[in-house]
């Protein structure tokens, strides 16, 4: 009996080996996105985009003949879950690299996993502390808050506005924005005359705005993600506030205009270039990628691609470039990512180096204004 079984096992094993030789194994890429939960507005377009880009790469023959396999886990915006899933990606799925997570809190929690297990991580979150100080295995594609703040302050300087009020949401995004707004103010000759906050679930901000109306402020900067800023826009209109209202890049999607309606008119905010892709001058090096992304996303999901999804687009494409140049070993991917120069993605033009794992410059943001329910570039 035993003698009859052994040849079969031998055959089976050799067949298995053969198949791996003939059809090259796919390159496994892990992804952690907050597809559900409070950060779903980030995670959902990111997941959709990553899947779309990977499918597109596979359809056109993969990378050097090898297909990509994207393994996506939903973190629900929960840092603890993100860490567990990151470990699962590394230990069980044995991925070559990880894309995500979507939020700064989750990214900070996952960083030790990537560092310890030596897997390159490309975070899609914006917090500056993810790549500052530089971590050996960690990169990110979302623009730093500091760049968005700098963009607004430059505009204010140009208009000779030097007294402002800031109104930030009391969560991680708002706190990070508030820190940047305060630390960069002096450098641009701007004084913050009023510094107030609101809760992420608050439904009426007239109290804060009334306080601002009674202050010396010449402009308001509000830092938050939907729906808070839409409520603030409506309240500001109700109170008849005449001073300019600036928002953060956290609301740079059509959803904000939809929510705030009429009250959105005239509001300015820094944004990634994706929402104004067709208005960019032809000389803009990003224009080609941007238009392609918007078109593909429209085709696949019947919705407008936003710059959150763009973070995932950039991450997949950066990985693709790195794998094309150096193969799929995690260490090689990391080294090649760090050597990426002049990559014109959705978030901006990336130039990574050993000192800079965020890779974007100030040109990553344009200042846009809401006009007739659409975005216009502020010249």
């Amino acid at each position: 009996m035993r003698f009859r079984v052994i040849p079969f096992i031998g055959l089976a094993v050799s067949l298995l080996l053969c198949s791996t030789v003939f059809a090259a194994t796919p390159i496994k890429i892990g992804a952690l996105f907050a597809v559900t939960g409070p950060a779903a507005f980030l995670g959902e377009p990111e997941r959709n985009t990553a899947q779309m880009v990977v499918d597109e790469i596979n359809r056109t023959g993969g990378i050097k003949g090898r297909k990509l396999e994207l393994i996506v886990y939903d973190t629900g915006g929960d840092a603890t879950k993100a860490v567990q899933l990151a470990t699962k990606l590394v230990k069980n799925d044995k991925v070559s690299a990880i894309i995500g997570p979507s939020t700064t809190g989750e990214s900070m929690a996952v960083i030790p996993v990537a560092e310890k297990d030596h897997v390159p991580l490309i975070s899609c979150a914006a917090g500056i502390k993810i790549t500052d100080p530089v971590k050996h295995w960690v990169f990110k594609t979302a623009q730093n808050d500091s760049l968005a703040v700098a963009r607004i302050y430059e505009q204010l300087q140009r208009q000779k506005i030097n007294k402002i009020a800031i109104l930030t949401v009391s969560d991680g995004f708002g706190a990070s924005g508030r820190e940047q707004l305060k630390s960069q103010a002096a450098r641009h000759g701007i004084t913050i005359v009023l510094d107030d906050t609101y809760g992420p679930k608050d439904t009426d901000m007239t109290a804060q705005l009334t306080k601002i109306r009674g202050s010396q402020a010449q402009a308001i900067i509000c830092w938050g993600t939907n729906p808070g800023p839409a409520v603030i826009a409506k309240n500001a209109r109700q109170l008849g506030l005449k001073i300019p209202l600036y928002m953060s890049h956290g609301v740079s999607s059509k959803k904000f205009i939809e929510l705030a309606g009429e009250a959105a008119e005239g509001i300015r905010l820094p944004s990634g270039k994706v929402i104004v892709a067709d208005m960019l001058p032809a000389s803009d090096p990003q224009k080609k990628s941007l238009l392609a992304y918007v078109k593909d996303y429209q085709k696949h999901y019947k919705a407008e691609g936003d710059h959150f999804g763009g973070h995932a687009w950039d991450a997949v494409m950066l990985l693709k470039g790195a794998i094309e140049r150096g193969g799929d070993a995690p260490a090689a991917i990391r080294d090649q990512l760090e050597k990426t120069r002049q990559f014109h993605g959705i978030g901006g033009t990336f130039n990574f180096s050993a000192q800079d794992h965020a890779g974007l410059g100030k040109d990553a943001f344009v200042l846009v204004e809401v006009k007739n329910r659409d975005w216009m570039i502020v010249k």
């Binding site: 779903a40 906050t197 439904t203 009426d204 109290a207 729906p227 409506k234």
Partner: protein, 293 residues
């Protein structure tokens, strides 16, 4: 501090307070007829707003038609909830009932999320959004709608409870369920009525507030808690005391956010809640053993 700032805080507070009052009355009506705190009350507020959006969006009804449909469906949900979750309970101890209502609220929130997604959505204002100036302060037409509709509903409520047979029967149940049963009042039907009325009121509150605050699957939690707080201040009465409780809460929140710090806005509501429960558990205006309803 200028006068017009205070006026603005007060006006904003009154309109938020009116919503708290409507939700609070929903709490007390059910409390009085069944003795339970219905923690799913906030979800009817959410259902009101989300269903109106649903009828206007995918079903393309105009606003005036979508509102009654939304209230109707929310009311039916309230009846179904009572019939299938509250009534079948063998031993209705208060703790069981409270846990069931919490479970019900989680279920409704989850279903709403699956059906309509997680996005926040906005309802168009009932009559434009040109601000109206009052003194140095401004309000929106929607604020007048909120205050007006709240007053009308409270008036109807009063008429119902004091001038109709079923209203009087419900008050009888509130005084003494057993005695009410003995004189031939169908207590179970009255309990169902109370769920009907309070789910309809919650839905209306959710609809009239949605153009200002927007709505999403999870708005019910906070609004529900604030409404509960209003009901506690009013000593669980379903009349004027809870209305005043809601208005006080709204104004204090708004003044607190404006004059002290907006970071404490929600804390104010819950500090008041705790103080009332510690010091005057019968409510701000109630005598130790007062008439409820």
């Amino acid at each position: 501090m200028q006068f017009d700032q205070i006026l603005q805080y007060t006006l904003s507070g009154l309109s938020t307070g009116a919503i708290y009052a409507l939700i609070g009355i929903g709490f007390s009506i059910i409390y009085n007829s069944t003795g339970i705190i219905n923690f799913a009350q906030g979800e009817f507020v959410m259902l009101g707003g989300m269903l109106t959006l649903f009828f206007m969006g995918p079903l393309k009804l105009p606003l005036w038609a979508a509102i009654p449909c939304a209230v109707l469906i929310s009311t039916l949900t309230g009846i179904v909830f009572e019939r299938f979750a509250i009534r079948p309970l063998r031993q209705p101890t208060p703790i069981n009932l409270v846990i069931i209502t919490i479970g019900g609220s989680i279920l409704m929130r989850g279903l709403a999320m699956l059906l309509w997604g997680k996005d926040t959505q906005s309802l168009p204002p009932f009559s434009g959004d040109e601000p109206i100036a009052i003194g140095g302060a401004t309000i929106l037409p929607q604020h007048i709608w909120i205050l007006g509709i709240t007053l009308v509903i409270i008036a109807i409520n009063k008429l119902y409870f004091y001038h109709t047979i079923s209203g009087k029967a419900m008050r009888a149940c509130a005084y003494n369920r057993r005695a009410a049963g003995l004189v031939g009042i169908d207590v179970r039907r009255m309990v169902m009525f109370s769920f009907m009325i309070s789910s309809a009121m919650g839905a209306v509150a959710g609809i009239i507030v949605a153009p200002l605050t927007m709505t999403a699957y999870d708005v019910g939690v906070m609004l529900g808690l604030k409404g509960f707080c209003a009901a506690i201040i009013g000593g669980m009465s379903s009349g004027a005391a809870t209305v005043v409780g809601g208005l006080i809460l709204g104004v204090l929140e708004s003044l607190g956010a404006g004059l002290v710090s907006s970071g404490y806005k929600d804390a104010i509501a819950f500090i008041i809640l705790l103080l009332i429960l510690f010091i005057r558990p019968q409510g701000l205006f109630g005598k130790a053993d007062s008439e409820r309803v």
